[in-house]
């Protein structure tokens, strides 16, 4: 009996039994009131579902055991080779023969494929992925990984999964390809860009941004992000841009993308990415955005970016903004001025300290003055000597060795600039 006819037989047997059960129930409770019939029916359904749940539990347990065995087999056979390939020792370019030696492929039957079916390929990818993300050394070479994966037929398998698999398989395989930095065929990317799932579309875009050398990269020429923009998008985009830069490709104009988007989160994301990738070339393009926008977060991010990238041409704009912006935006502007450190904005910082009653802003202004080089230190000492009783509390932070260590300019944080813990006035 073949498997299918075996399943068919038992399925029909089960269906007949269910039919019999309900017929029996109807007969048995014929004279009972309706509520008893309902209760009996529900009980039977519960028992039936329980039975199926139990079967699926056993099935899942059986499948997991098989999976575990397969994993153990792959790890035992090729685990050492995988570990070697991602380690510091594999820093030289290896050819196929050398990799075959490492993986001891001469022991395998040459007439059979190394990995028999998709199940084995999937497990191989999972095992290697774990080595790759947990043990990979910066010294190891991506080319070696690619050669090894080609020898095992993994890129073809992953590409098939990406183009033909379910949503889960698509996302999973695409993620693996991005992690291994495998190139993805343009036709697959084009297909995915038209996917009905937003998540798949975006992953395809990020993959293309990562590897495309000739594309105009015009994805964000429309207000693509709308309301759906999260930190994960920024992480993925950052990863793609980093890879692009490593490959020696030019980065797209992020300032232009920031201009086009309407969503504040997306705009901030592109401005932050400019900062992360030192894209000083397009800093000037942010001036218009800075003058036009009323979005507080965006103003903060642009100020911070200018500060980090030492874009001194914006200093007048920052000084002006310090007078007009609300308290919560002022902190980012003051930090930007301090990073520029041209000596022109020290008076503005002093005004920032004096012209507000918000203790948090006052403390931050003082912190910026303290960090503003020798000129700032002199002003700081002067302020300390003439400080009123109520202001003295700010200065105590600069004398304590523990809090003093933390008094530095805000660190690179995505959405929340870090402020010294014990001061959040």
């Amino acid at each position: 009996m073949s498997t299918i006819s075996f399943i068919k037989y038992y399925f029909s047997l089960g269906a007949a039994y269910v039919k019999y059960l309900f017929a029996f129930l109807l007969y048995k409770f014929e004279d009972f009131p309706n509520e008893v019939k309902v209760a009996a029916l529900m009980t039977s359904i519960c028992i039936l579902i329980l039975f199926f749940v139990q079967i699926s539990l056993f099935w899942m347990s059986f499948m997991e055991k098989r999976k575990r065995k397969l994993r153990e087999r792959i790890e035992k056979k090729w685990g050492k080779g995988m570990e070697y390939l991602v380690s510091q020792e594999a820093s030289e370019l290896l050819n196929e023969a050398q990799i075959a030696d490492i993986f001891e492929l001469d022991k395998e039957d040459p007439n059979k494929p190394l990995l028999k079916n998709n199940r084995e390929k999937n497990m191989f990818v999972q095992v290697f992925y774990l080595y790759f993300i947990s043990k990979r050394s910066e010294m190891s070479r991506t080319e070696n990984t690619h050669t090894m994966l080609h020898m095992f037929g993994i890129p073809d398998y992953l590409e098939k999964e990406v183009s033909l698999g379910s949503m889960k398989h698509k996302v999973d395989a695409l993620g693996k390809m991005r992690t291994f930095k495998l190139p993805i065929s343009p036709w697959v990317i084009n297909k995915l860009l038209n996917s009905k799932y937003l998540r798949v579309q975006r992953l395809a875009m990020y993959s293309n941004i990562m590897s495309s050398s000739d594309s105009a990269l015009d994805y964000f020429e429309t207000d693509f992000f709308d309301e759906n923009c999260c930190i994960k998008d920024e992480i993925e985009l950052g990863f793609s841009l980093q890879r692009r830069r490593k490959m020696g490709l030019k980065l797209p104009n992020l300032a232009r993308w920031a201009h086009i988007q309407n969503n504040e989160k997306a705009q901030c994301m592109f401005v932050r990415l400019m900062r992360r990738f030192n894209e000083i070339e397009y800093c000037g393009q942010l001036k218009d955005l800075y003058n036009q926008t009323k979005k507080k977060k965006l103003i903060e991010e642009i100020s911070r970016t200018w500060g980090y990238l030492h874009y001194v041409e914006c200093e007048d704009l920052l000084i002006e903004a310090l007078l007009t912006q609300p308290d919560d935006t002022k902190v980012a502007i003051m930090h930007a001025m301090t990073r520029l450190g041209t000596g022109r904005s020290i008076d503005a910082l002093l005004d920032g300290f004096k012209n507000t009653t918000n203790p948090h802003v006052r403390y931050e202004a003082l912190r910026c003055i303290y960090n503003y080089g020798p000129q700032g230190k002199a002003l700081f000492n002067d302020l300390e000597q003439n400080a009123s009783e109520s202001d003295k509390k700010y200065f105590t932070f600069f004398h304590n060795p523990i809090t003093l260590e933390k008094i530095r300019l805000d660190k690179e944080q995505a959405y929340h600039p870090s402020v010294e813990t014990v001061f959040n006035g």
Partner: protein, 475 residues
């Protein structure tokens, strides 16, 4: 006339039972759908760590743990919290003026010294006496806050919120054992959310029979003692079916006070924890929802279906009755304080679905059960019971209860929510609890609920007595 009342009552109870069962079925279905969604959206721990670890975008978190007279466990607990694997976090231990050596032990162990502070009391709490930090670089994440005695955990948590400087905070109990990957798992939902994520709940289980090594649970077991065993099943059911089901429609009614992540700004704007509340965790979440909805902002709530925290639950009947009576009072308080949210679609699925469900099936259920029980006794004595019909209906309820609990095991296995040391033995114990629960544990909980409601009505002063900890097994 009496006969009419009798029939109305019988049909009312029967209809109520059927609707209740339908509600449970719906939650099972929602939970399954949530799992399917998580299959795609929640990768394994290694991938989460790989993506978040090296990123400068990973948001920082503050862990707040109030402590009162915890000299026996405080050092182990703080060491356990320090085992957390996350790139950017601070630990805030709030000492609520302990009368034992808690503070002294902390100072000596972590070489703490006073540092200058100026803290805006953004949410209501008793005044802070001093803030201490360690001179040892290894403990630079640790901040100890010494405050005037407030007497409630909520007061300590509020002091912690006042001190914390990060966008997100996690509130926990100092004696909880946190899984090292817990923060990564929770923050994964935050970084994947396009709307503001105001709260993330995490699955919590009982640590009563677990074995702990260096502040980490290394062997997870289901307790052998009946009371904790029933609770383990109850916790699993609550997290993997009820809360996970509600999280599918963004209507999570509760983020456990034992381990929950919140958006600091939203928590502050909605007033933080209420020190007078008996259910301060539900209360704060509902106020956060109210604040977001009233200010026209959309938000997300999520639940991590993998165990993130272990807590020691009541080990005997007396402690259980005390705890559950307090919870019942808390539920009554929530129903009475937040009544404007109930059946109100303005507050989204929480107002339109979750809270009505909570009211009809959690709040009223004990009353129905209790009155049904009294009615049954009366019928037995008057000879009015149709025994064969009664057995059929009892059978339905019993099998349905078993059916729901069975799904818990199924979901646990599918989600790998808990990494049991001996899966078969653990499931065997849970099955045993499943079969016995409707006869032993459920009537007990119903009794506690009735007592709790009664105490709320007659306005007995609530006394917060902490559970006497036996401590976990250490290797």
């Amino acid at each position: 006339m009496w006969l009419t009342i009798y029939y109305i009552f019988c049909y009312l109870v029967f209809a109520y039972t059927l609707i209740l069962l339908a509600g449970y079925m719906w939650l099972v279905l929602m939970s399954r759908l949530a799992q399917k969604q998580l299959d795609v959206n929640l990768p394994d721990d290694d991938t989460i760590k790989y993506l978040m670890q090296g990123s400068p975008l990973t948001p920082a978190v503050s862990i707040i743990a109030p402590a009162y007279n915890e000299e026996v466990t405080i050092i182990d607990s703080v060491n356990s919290i320090m085992q957390i694997d996350y790139p950017d976090y601070e630990i805030i231990i709030v000492n609520d003026a302990s009368t034992d050596r808690t503070m002294e032990l902390l100072i000596n162990e972590y070489k703490l010294v006073e540092v200058p502070y100026d803290i805006a009391m953004r949410v209501q709490s008793k005044p802070i006496k001093r803030v201490l930090k360690s001179t040892d670089e290894r403990y630079s994440k640790l901040i100890v806050v010494d405050k005037v005695h407030g007497g409630r955990k909520a007061d300590g948590s509020n002091a912690g919120i006042n001190v914390c400087s990060n966008k997100y905070f996690v509130c926990t109990d100092v004696d909880c054992i946190i899984e090292p990957m817990a923060l990564y798992r929770m923050m994964w939902f935050v970084i994947n959310s396009s709307k503001p994520m105001i709260g993330v709940g995490a699955t919590m289980l009982m640590s009563n029979a677990c074995i702990v090594e260096n502040g980490k649970v290394v062997e997870a077991h289901v307790p052998n003692v009946p009371i904790p065993m029933f609770q383990q099943l109850e916790y699993l059911r609550s997290f993997l079916i009820s809360k996970l089901g509600w999280s599918r429609i963004n209507a999570l009614p509760n983020i456990s006070g034992g381990f929950g992540l919140f958006d600091t700004d939203v928590a502050v704007k909605s007033g933080g924890y209420d020190p007078m509340s008996m259910a301060e965790d539900v209360d704060m979440l509902l106020r956060m929802v109210t604040y977001m909805k009233n200010s026209g902002q959309d938000f997300n709530l999520a639940l991590v279906p993998k165990v993130c925290c272990w807590t020691e639950g009541p080990g005997n009947l007396k402690q259980l009755v005390r705890q559950r009576t307090r919870w019942a009072r808390g539920l009554f308080e929530i129903v009475s304080n937040h009544r404007k949210l109930f059946f109100n679609p303005h507050y989204g699925p929480i107002g339109a679905l979750t809270l009505p469900y909570l009211f009809i099936f959690e709040f009223i259920a004990p009353l129905f059960e209790f009155s049904g029980f009294l009615f049954m006794i009366w019928l037995v004595f008057t000879g009015g019971v149709n025994w064969s019909a009664a057995f059929i209906i009892f059978g339905m309820i019993y099998f349905f209860s078993v059916f729901i609990s069975f799904f818990v095991i199924f979901f646990d296995y599918k989600l790998k929510a808990v990494n049991w040391k001996h899966t078969k033995i653990s499931y065997g114990k849970l099955l045993l609890a499943t079969l016995l629960e409707p006869f032993i544990y459920h009537p007990l909980i119903t009794y506690c609920s009735i007592v709790g409601y009664w105490r709320f009505i007659i306005n007995t002063t609530a006394v917060w007595t902490p559970i006497q900890r036996k401590g976990v097994k250490k290797r």
